[in-house]
Each structure stands twice: as C-alpha cells, then as structure tokens.
Symmetry: C2
Subunit: 438 residues, 2 copies
C-alpha cells in the first residue's frame, strides 16, 4: 500500500524520519504525562501515560468511527454520543487499561472528561475520551486526575510525536504518517499491535488536519478511507473492544481541492494500517494478498482475509516454508462454507511473482520451491532465534524495510478485486501473549 | 463430552486401554504396510503407511460425510460418487500425501482403487479411497501399488489398532473409542491433529459396526451424530481439504433398538472428537465452552466457536493466564459483526465454576484471580519448557487425563444451547507448523 518503499538501518534513522513526518498542522497542541499506580484487580504497580491532543479553538468539523464489537469500551459508548455534540476541543487518551465492561466505567470516563474540560477551559462534552489496555479492569480515576495538570502543562505545538509515543502499549515503535495538501497537512498517529482485525475502525488512530473540510464531508471521507485501509487488515483476527479512529480539522487552512484531500487521507490511512501490521505483536513477515477476478469486492476481501487469518499458513510463512497447500486450504475453506456455488476451476495463484496454481491445479518443482523460500526470507523483518529463557522477544524496535510476502489470487470469475494486509504467526506472538502474565 | 473421566499414568497404560477399546466388530479385517518413497516435488525420502479396512462381504449399508472445503481432495471427489454405488467392500487409506489439487489426482486414486479391488476380489467402485498429508503433492502410485500385497497379506480380524496406528500423521497417539450395543459393537478410529475445524466431517474417521442398520437410516444417524461432535470442535480454525467420516455396517448382528444404537454412535463420535482435540498439534489445554440462554442453537455454537478460535484468548489459556477480557472480546466480536441486535446486558460468564461476568460487567479480585489460575493449571496436559534448540516438542505420547478448561456463557436471551471443544495456542503448535520444514 505504501507509496514509498522505506529501508531503515538504525533506530535513530527511523526516529529521525518519524520526526519529519510528525509536524503538527496549525491549530493543534499535544502533551503527555506518565505516572505509576496500583490496579484494584491485580495489586502490583503499573505505569500509565495520559495523552492530550488539544485544539486552539473547539471545532465543529470532526469525524470518528468505532469498533463494532458488541462489548464496546466505556470511551466508545461516550464517543458515539460525542458525534452529536456541536464541537470538539480535545482528545484525552490513556493506555494500560481499556475501561471495558468495568463497573462504573462510563461514569469514570465522564469524570475524567469533566476534569480535563475544567483544566482546558472547555465543556465536558467537547472532550473525546479514549482508553486502551487490559479489558475488565477499572480506571484509576484519582491518579489520572492528579496527573492531568502535568499533561496540560506539557501541551505544545510543533510535533505530534509526544502523542504518538504516549498512546502505545505493546507497540515496538510509534507510528506517524503525513501528507501535504496545498498549504495544509494531514498527520496521522496510530497505536495497535494485538487484538487487531478492526471492524469499521482500528485500535486508536488520530488524524489531524488544518485543512478546512466541513463535518459531514469529513465523516463521509473518513468512512471511505477506513474501509479500504484499517478494515482491510488483520494481525490476529481478534477485534478490539476499543477500536477508534478520529479525524479532526482545525480549519486553519482553506481546502481548495477535496479530491486531493481525499487521496491524501487514503494514503495516510493505508500507510498507517500497514505500519500497524508491520509493528504487530510478534510479526516477522507482513503478508499482502491481492484477490482479483472476483464476482464482488466483498468476496475478494473475504477470501483475502481467510488467507491472512489461517493459522497454519501463517505458521508456514513464519518458518519461511512455502507450504502453499495451506494457502489453497484457506481459500477453499471460505468458499466452501460461504459461497459454495463459486467456480474455482480457473483459479490462478502467484506467490512472490512465481505461479504456483493454474486452472485450480498446483505446478510445483524443486526450483520453484527454492525461489519461494528466497521470497519469504527476503520479506522477513528479523530472524527468530531461540532465547536462553524460552521467552521469544523481537530484537528490533524499528522497521528495517517495507517488503511484504506478495500473494496474488485471480479467481477468474469476475472483475472485482481487493487487497488485504496480514502477518505471520510466530513464537514471538505466543511469548507476548502467553509467556508474560498480564 | 466424555462420559468417563480417564486418567493415564503411562504410555503402556494408555495403549492397554486402547487395545481394550479396539476389538473389531464381526465381519471386518484390517491390515497395513509401511514403505519409503521419494516425492516428485521435494526430492527427499519420505515414509507412507497404506491401511486397508476390509469387509468379509461387501455391504450396501454405509454412510460417509466429506469436507465442505471448496478445494476437496481427489479421494473426496471419488468418495462422493461412491455414495451412489450399490456396495462397499473396503476402505484404502494413505497418510503423508493428501492428493489435493495435484495434477491427475482423481486418476491416481482410481488406479489405486482398481489395484486394491483386484487384490481383494472386489470391484473398483466398491473401494472407498482416503488420503491425508501434504496438500498439492502427487501420490506415488507405483510405490503404493507395490506395497498393496503386503497390506492385503496383513489383513486380520480381532483389533482395529493396526488401522488406528496406520492412518496417523502428526498425531501423538492413535485414537480408538467403542461402544457395546446389545450383541454388537461400534468401533471408531480417528486421525487428525492439525487443520482441524471440520465442516460436515473431520479429518479421517472410520466407524465400524456389526449391527445391521439399513443404508438410509445409517446416513441420517451419522449426519446427526457428526453435527453434534466433529462439527462442534476446532483446533486451529483451518478446515482440511480431506475431511472424511465414514460409518460402515457389516450387518452381522441384528440391531434391536435403534435409539440405543444412535446414542452409542453419538457417544463414540463425541469421545473421538474430544480425543482429536486433546491430541491436537501443540495442544496443552482442551477448552470446553457451553453457551446457553441463546436465541438459537446456531448462535450458541457460533459464539462458542468464536471463543475457541480467538488467538489471544488461546494464548492466555496456554500461559495459565486468566486474561478473561479476551474472552469477552471474542464473544463481542462475533455478536457485533454477525448479530448486532442481540442484547448482551444479561450475560453471565463462569470459568472453572468461578463467576467472572454478571449482567455484562466483570467482577474480579485477587482471590478469584488465584482460583482461576489453579483451574487452568489443573487442566494442563503437560507443562511447556524451553528447549535447548528452540524447537518446542510435546514431552508426552499419551493423554494424562481428560480434564478441560470449563467455560459457561449464559446469554440470558433464550433457551437454546451448544457445547464446543477447542484448544489453546502454544509454542508447540508454532514449532510443529513453522520450525519444521515440510
């Protein structure tokens, strides 16, 4: 999806590039405060960062999409109400605890909004709250209120990086993407590394622009951009209870060409979506699947999703093992269960430019096998090595390159297509989610 | 599901119990032959076992269900045709290569059926072929034909164990279950350890009985039994291209009570399904989820499946980590995406007898946390330990007990229920499917 193909040789190089992306549009300030507290449920010390994104003046022009999970977090419940408010003045984000199904969760978030509003001279309904982290635990409202003045004091224009760094949980690196449109900018930051198969939105994404686009247009453009980016990816097929993507315009710069704005917004969203997968828990290969020749875009996307969510295929990719039978299994599982009438006899599959299935039959030989292994190795972000203590941890905190495992599936039955982004299934994913107690 | 709760302290104890289960019904013989060959696609030596299950006389009374995967193996394509044949005389099974989407696959299987028929004095259409193993590779027809006389010579009545041992691939142990009905028996054997979320059948299951039940009744009973057993389980959410379950009656013993026969068949199927999960690739915890208070059985089953297929929850179980927020995520993901109108406010969730969610809200505290950890540890089949070479392998080749992680979810919105069986997601699963090249 990424228009550029970046290669980084060091953490410093990656951070310098992030800083260049992070210039804040006019009309915004960000600030954060980090503090320690003790959860009620598991009494051992934990750390939380409280992040503020504030507008110089409240704006009527904002949009937001939220998770479709039927157990939404309290901030999502409140956020849906905020869509009807006349204006947005600030976004208040915390990590570590997601405030989902916790007793008194909505009241806790509203108390924090009221405290932030008072500190910023706004109304409580002008604050959009967001939380991410452990599900089921209660927010430490007292400790968060006590940390608020520090976050307010830190508010500064210039860079979105303090916010991109403040919202992370298990992320290996912050994620920032931007685009210049005429005299203005769009800057997006994203958080998310696990529980990622968004349904109408992703973990936490904030898109800030100074380009003046009215509320209703902004909402329509965001829905379209999200559908082709965050809704086309999956790290582990789990849909978070907190997914939120917000787009806010300060209106400081006139928007002269809405088509250019929409294209820029789509690029920022697609690049961020790919960043989120590249930084996914335990991800060592990003997998890009393009399904074409489908009777509908919905079918193309569903088949792509079936491939990137098939555990056996994901394990094979992790091991640089071109076990392409597992790819066919995944396509056949989806079609057999959901669209059994679809004729697959003309199916072609290409992996890393190498044809592997034609007319629904495999053509494999030792030379192809070697070429497929090379393609998989080339797309590896880092090699896994057995750790002494049995707990696998990624040895990198920046992305070395943007190469993907490239899969093309042509069903030969229609003219629709879709591209989805996924990842492998690794020891590092299991260690992250089984070997550490939360 | 298991009516008994077995505990085994040694491999020998387990094998002795298997032998007691494996007594063949009247009218059947089994035999197997193991040999080495070199696949065309990846020229390194491999081993295959050819297994025969033969009837003393061809029977018109047989039933079979096959995978719904839209890329079915050649034996499945042939098997569907065999359902229309007047009689079944033998089943010919090979492991190592599944003969799926391989060039000339149907012809290869038919050639083997013809050779087996000639050796057994049957017609080719009286042979049901089955294959399991690598997808995409071609069967070594010459080597298999050469091994046939040895399998025929080994045919013997008495025990189904040689067949249960002959059909395995990555299975840790053979699987046999049986039931006595009046003067007759039902004996079932199963193979399957990965790519397991059957859709209308499971990997390879053969149910043999001497009780005389006519073909159409047999087929109806099998469909019902499979729906409540093999269709209610998942190891890794992948649906094999080769799933087959066959039920064959030799008719040697009159069936006096069809209800007792059906109940016995259901028990054998449910016990085998649970065995398949317990023996699943890398499985260290079997997870049993009962969903009640649902508006339909379909919804209850789908929610149970969503839980046992949620990677983050599966990882938490692997780590004996009661990260119950991930359980809620899984239920909410399914309902939000598929039945957004369902009211979840009365939802109760109980894990290991301990209430964790009531009226849609968590109630957690440190004492409950400790009790939940104990329940998870008690259900563990073996503890994982970091290997020196980084490749995790199960240290057991028999099941130590039949305890499960027990989850009850009451939606409080209806009167329907369903029980599904699943497993955790472990380093052993990743090692099995990523660290070994196929």
């Amino acid at each position: 999806m990424s228009s550029t193909s970046l290669v980084f040789s060091s953490r410093e190089g990656h951070r310098a590039w992030l800083a260049s992306q992070a210039a804040l549009p006019a009309g915004f300030r960000v600030g954060a405060a980090r503090f320690e507290f003790t959860p009620i449920e598991v009494p051992k010390p934990a750390k939380m960062t409280l992040t503020l994104i504030a507008l110089d003046r409240p704006t009527p022009d904002f949009a937001a999409l939220f998770t479709k999970n039927a157990f939404p977090g309290a901030p999502v419940i409140i956020g849906r109400k905020r869509l009807g408010a006349p204006a947005l003045g600030a976004i208040l984000i915390n990590n570590k605890i997601s405030n989902v199904c916790a007793p008194g969760g909505v009241e806790a978030s509203e108390r924090l909004c009221a405290a932030a509003a008072q500190a910023l001279g706004l109304r409580a309904t002008e604050i959009l709250p967001s939380s991410t982290g452990v599900i089921g635990w209660r927010l430490p409202v007292e400790a968060m209120t006590a940390a608020l003045p520090q976050a307010v004091a830190a508010l500064a224009p210039g860079s979105a990086l303090p916010a991109a760094e403040g919202i992370v949980t298990t992320d290996l690196f912050p994620k920032v993407r931007s685009a210049v449109v005429g005299g203005g900018r769009i800057v997006g930051i994203a958080k998310g590394a696990g529980m990622i198969e968004p349904n109408l939105a992703t973990m936490l994404v904030y898109l800030l622009t100074d380009l003046a686009v009215p509320r209703e247009t902004l909402r329509a453009l965001l829905a379209r951009a999200v559908d082709r980016s965050f809704n086309c990816m999956s790290i582990d097929s789990d849909t978070s209870t907190s997914d939120t993507v917000a787009l806010v315009s300060s209106g400081a710069v006139p928007c002269l060409d809405l088509d250019v704005f929409e294209a820029a917004l789509a690029t920022v969203c697609c690049d961020l979506a790919e960043d989120v997968v590249r930084n996914g828990e335990g991800v060592r290969h990003v997998v890009r699947v393009t399904v074409s020749g489908a009777p509908s875009e919905r079918t193309a996307r569903a088949i792509g999703k079936a491939v990137i969510n098939a555990p056996l295929f994901k394990c094979a990719v992790a091991g640089n093992d071109p076990n392409v039978g597992r790819l066919v299994q995944a396509v056949g599982k989806y079609v057999g269960a959901n669209e059994p009438g679809l004729d697959l006899r003309r199916t072609r599959m290409v992996l890393g430019g190498i044809p592997i299935v034609q007319q629904g039959e495999f053509s494999l030989d030792p030379a192809k096998e070697n070429a497929l292994v090379s393609h998989l190795k080339q797309a590896e972000l880092y090699a896994s090595s057995p750790p002494k203590d049995g707990v696998f941890a990624p040895p990198i905190d920046f992305p070395r390159h943007e190469r993907c495992v490239e899969i093309a599936i042509d069903l030969g039955t229609g003219s629709c297509s879709a591209t989805v982004i996924g990842a492998d299934l690794t020891h590092e994913y299991v260690s992250e989610n089984a070997d550490y107690r939360s």
